[in-house]
Symmetry: C2
Subunit: 344 residues, 2 copies
DNA sequence: CTGAAAGCGCTTACAG
DNA sequence: CTGAAAGCGCTTACAG
């Protein structure tokens, strides 16, 4: 009655042989394999993942935890994860989890704790101790993409060096002669120094200090939501105040930078003549806005996270534990028309 | 050895009773249920979805097919789907499928055909006959969100009335006295009349005809990618040509409209004094851009799609087959500062 | 290289 | 209300 029994009967072999022929595990005579495959094709047989998982203990399914889907970085990462997992024959089960709350607890304590996923990839989510512990207790490998710092212990981490990014963006502006140079940081940058926004802020402060412009008076950080409207609102306030205005802004993301560009235009401030702006991301709109930015590759990071997780699951070609662990993912400064030398 | 056996032993009942107490199916004495629940909590028992699916035939998992994650409408729909499914105790398995190709075939013929998903929700994807047939053969309910027209047969469909949307947006501009009124349509609008972009174009042409401005000469449609850079490029070409310029643009989506606004600014054309622009979506950036738009609720549409699919799976409260089938989902015109009466 | 048998962890008739 | 037993559809030692 079971489907594979039908295939076996049609091919004139046992279920065991049919299973081996179809899965490629264990040796089967070439001709037998052909017969089994023909039989399977004939009746449109597709293995039941549930039944297979039950005995193998593997689901070929990865749980992805992500706070947003509709911000560029996260969307790109998600697409990268999806495509890579799919071609490895894995499913991606999505958990859109933001902030705290009962929904979040349910995801970690029920959905992800079940035997439905082989491992978990968390994108830009600060995992609480308790959440990590819950996954560890169930023996789920965890890969964290973005934010935090590669700790000695804890889950495998992957990401760009956000502090270096902040430093690089700031140094670009300093080298152009800017001294009134404000950072539009993401919400929580000061409060959570190991978050993405916290590290970028830190990089800004590093560079400002090195240039003798900090800590007192000359360095200024304004926090805002890391979206285009967030950047717009913050820049409107920042640039609209009478008195001496900054000549340069380092925005914590390209979306924030786009908002700042629009705010400047609205106020009649010319970018880049009166105001230089640099972002972070390499957003697909950056070219259209002429935005100078520190580019990263979120979809490439998604791919890297999948490679890592598959390796943790023992699927990788190399049995090497974590070859590239620790090395930050690549970024580069792309100079466009939103930055120029400081006005005299 | 099985986990539920441990719970049963600890509670001093049989596996059958433990199962009934935990799942809530079948009657169990109140006190027995309490004992079982305490035992389950004590050893941290979580039911194995694979084992349960194998016997019930239900996975409590829905496959979602979506072409983009990083365009506003799609991202919002996805979030709406995720949240609603989660609170119904369902998983969402994501298939990011765009255009044709072997990857797409694999999704329909292997991934979705397996017994891993109970049903499929396709968002803004034109399903081929063959793809629908593949799902039907496996008895998978299918819900299609967006695009197409509710056919008598075929899968359940859900969406706004895109033709009415195109008409409404156009009429808003006509009523303001515009006669040179161009439509920035999505790619493929003319070639695929039942696609979202095709229906919006049709609505535009309807309204123009009704106003005596079509078919000859006065109606003009330019196709472009439905993104901000797409709108920017198209508008740059449209507005930069010497000679008489349109006084109004109906953009097929808000993102296209944002691009058009930027193009106008770049060319020194004042919005709305020299050019009125209306979009479609109710994008979260619309307010910041002051964009007049026909608003829809993608996350609400995601919720509606989940309701429908659960009903098809026999989970809905009402056994009513498809109560709201056919009725288009709501939209409304939101007037902001990007449109005004035509210049004299 | 192939087969018979056990078993993965549950749920659900069937009895009682 | 509860339990013993069968069975969901596979895979994998274990023999041969």
């Amino acid at each position: 009655m079971t489907a594979i029994a039908d295939v076996a009967r049609l091919a004139g072999v046992s279920k065991a042989t049919a299973s081996r022929a179809l899965s490629g595990r264990g040796h089967v005579a070439e001709e037998t394999r052909r017969r089994v495959e023909a039989a399977a094709a004939e009746i449109g047989y597709i293995v039941s993942p549930d039944a297979a998982s039950l005995v193998t203990g593997r689901t070929k399914n990865i749980g992805v935890v992500i706070p947003f889907v509709n911000r560029w970085f996260f969307g790109e990462v998600l697409e990268g994860l999806e495509r890579t997992l799919l071609s490895a024959g894995y499913d991606l089960t999505l958990y859109n989890v933001d902030g705290a709350g009962p929904d979040r607890d349910r995801v970690f304590e029920f959905f992800l704790a079940r035997k439905r996923v082989d491992a978990v990839i968390a994108v830009g989510v600060d995992l609480a101790e308790r959440e990590l512990a819950a996954l560890e207790r169930r023996d789920k490998p965890v890969v964290v993409l973005g934010g935090g710092e590669a700790g000695a212990l804890g889950p495998a981490r992957l990401g760009i060096d956000d502090r270096a990014v902040g430093q690089l963006a700031t140094e670009h502006l300093l080298q152009l002669g800017h001294t009134r140079l404000v950072h539009l940081a993401g919400d929580g940058a000061a409060a959570r120094p190991l978050s993405v926004q916290g590290l970028r802020r830190h990089g800004y402060l590093d560079a400002m200090s090195a240039a003798g412009l900090a800590p007192r008076g000359r360095a200024e950080v304004v926090e805002t939501e890391m979206t285009m409207p967030g950047g717009y609102e913050a820049a409107l306030q920042l640039l609209g105040q009478p008195g001496r205005r900054p000549t340069a802004v380092f925005a914590a993301s390209d979306e924030v930078a786009f908002g700042a560009i629009r705010a400047a235009e609205r106020l009649g401030i010319s970018v880049p003549h009166d105001l230089s702006i640099v972002g972070v991301d390499g957003h697909e709109y950056a070219e259209m806005f002429g935005l100078t930015t520190v580019e990263q590759s979120p979809s490439g990071q998604g791919r890297a996270a999948v490679d890592l997780v598959l390796r943790l699951l023992g699927e990788g070609a190399e049995p090497d534990p974590l070859p590239d662990s620790g090395a930050p993912l690549p970024t580069r400064l792309v100079v466009r028309t939103s930055t120029m030398r400081a006005p005299l």
